[in-house]
């Protein structure tokens, strides 16, 4: 499997792809931090079930963990970016016809999937780092300008940054696997991205707004809870277990489809 990982990492060294990926992560980190701090400083509250973002209260923002709150707030945005990039890379093998060469070279197809997941997870770690670093640079001036107290932000800084990074990375890997699964099934990046974005912005929001329907198990809610280290409605351990379930189910579907289906592209 090491061979498949190294091979995939070589193919991922595409400057335009990496610039787009890391650039979007940086852009959303700046955007969400700026909006979040302006919003919280103005005393605003989000309506329940607002799609895509979950802002902290002012008190939460002024805690030591507040310095990284922007990462969790933007986690679903980062998730959509990650889903899209994993889908683009996976579906690209089909649209370019490269899949024929890969399967002919490595007939144990599950290894190709496993190699792709690990390689994309490595790049996702890089993208998470970009988001975390940009978050640190964006949150300080924005907070100062908005009058948010940053006195507690230096406390346990390393631990706060490390746990925020880890939580976001885990959530993004699940988003990415979802993108990979849809791309393997649909063999199209456009379809995968449409389904992913449509789900987060439409389906999940509609379900959340239907008050009689329990929504804590939904993908976006679950992964938002993982990225935040747990929320009031979903405990961290529960969120991790649910995320693991989603990943396992997704990978079983992807591997089953990929191994059994003819390569006719």
């Amino acid at each position: 499997m090491i061979a498949a990982i190294r091979s995939e990492l070589t193919r991922l060294r595409q400057p335009r792809l990496l610039l787009t990926w890391f650039g979007l992560m940086a852009l959303f980190a700046i955007l969400v931090n700026t909006i979040m701090i302006t919003f919280v400083a103005g005393g605003g509250t989000l309506p329940p079930g607002a799609p895509g973002v979950a802002f902290p209260t002012r008190a939460e923002l002024e805690r030591s963990s507040g310095i990284m709150a922007g990462l969790a707030a933007a986690s679903n945005m980062f998730g959509v970016v990650t889903l899209s990039m994993w889908a683009v890379v996976t579906a690209g093998d089909y649209s370019s016809g490269l899949i024929r060469l890969l399967v002919a070279a490595e007939p144990r197809r599950w290894r190709l999937i496993a190699g792709k997941v690990v390689a994309l997870a490595i790049v996702t770690a890089g993208a998470t780092t970009v988001a975390a670093v940009v978050n640190l640079f964006a949150v300080m001036p924005a907070s100062g300008a908005a009058g948010i107290s940053t006195a507690a932000w230096g406390t346990d800084l390393l631990w706060v940054v490390a746990s925020a990074w880890t939580n976001l990375f885990l959530a993004l890997c699940v988003w990415g696997v979802l993108g990979l699964v849809i791309a393997v099934v649909a063999r199209s990046a456009a379809v995968a991205i449409s389904i992913g974005v449509g789900y987060v912005l439409v389906v999940e929001s509609v379900v959340k707004m239907a008050k009689d329907v329990p929504s804590d198990w939904l993908l976006g809610t679950t992964l938002g809870a993982v990225a935040s280290g747990g929320t009031a409605s979903v405990a961290y351990g529960t969120a991790l277990a649910l995320a693991l379930g989603y990943v396992t189910l997704g990978l079983v579907v992807a591997v089953t489809v990929f191994v059994r289906r003819d390569v006719t592209d």
Binding site: A3, L98, A104
Partner: protein, 315 residues
Amino acid sequence: MSVVATKDLTRRFGRITALDRLTVELPAAGVVGLVGPNGSGKSTLIRILLGLIRPTGGSATVLGSSVHAPRDYAARVGALIESPAFIPALSARSNLVSLARLRRLPLARVDAVLEQTGLTGRDREPVRRFSLGMKQRLGIAAALLSDPELLILDEPTNGLDPAGIVEIRELLRDLGRNGRTVIVSSHQLSEIEAVCDHLVVIRFGELVFSGPMVEVMKRTREHIDIAPEHPADTARLETALAAGDWSVAAVDGVLRVAAGADRAADLNRAATAAGITLRQLVVAQDNLEEIFLEMTGRVDGELASGRAASSGKVA
């Protein structure tokens, strides 16, 4: 020993039968031409041999192993399947390095195949800047990467200029002479005729012919191409010759008469007797294209398959 052997190999796509109980053995070492009209099942056969699709019936072996276990022979097989497929943003070298790593090959092989296919010096350019011919060379380089015993190439000279075609032809011949087996699927019958030692013809998913190229060429016959001095006399000349029991057909602006050099003088006299002077009389040998058309019935495979699909037969 056969490098590829199939027995009653069948593949259906819904109601369409792409391969219909194909039984064939391809000899080891040398260049094998795989030809057939469009939709004859060539690509389906290649895909089955490479483990990309599975047969719905029958059996097949590649280098002695079943196509149901392609991992047993994948390392010994290289392939260029349809059009060359690479990541356009990456350089030729990076694309090959990625495949070398997947196959656990030393990176020295990348330099070797770049040299072999004449790509050294252009290897650091992104593939998106490559012409079709350059991409074709890169596709062949990727196929050669594992120094395979069996090389399967689909239209290897597609997009190459005449010099490139000669170069690749020489490369294929060398590979065939050096103990490797090269299966070449192509529509360019002149190329097949020039490089292949063995020919396999399939049509409608069934075997039409399999045998040494020399045996195929034994089927060639002489013919005489004639043209009247005035083109307006062509139809009258054809009628007159047909009435005189000559087998004649209009082909590419001339009348092609099925006869050898020994009857050229008689033919000339017959034209003169009809009051027509010939401006051209050329004795020639049938080429592989003629034999192919005769074997496959002078039909476009895809058009024919469209007509036959309603009866559930053939892609």
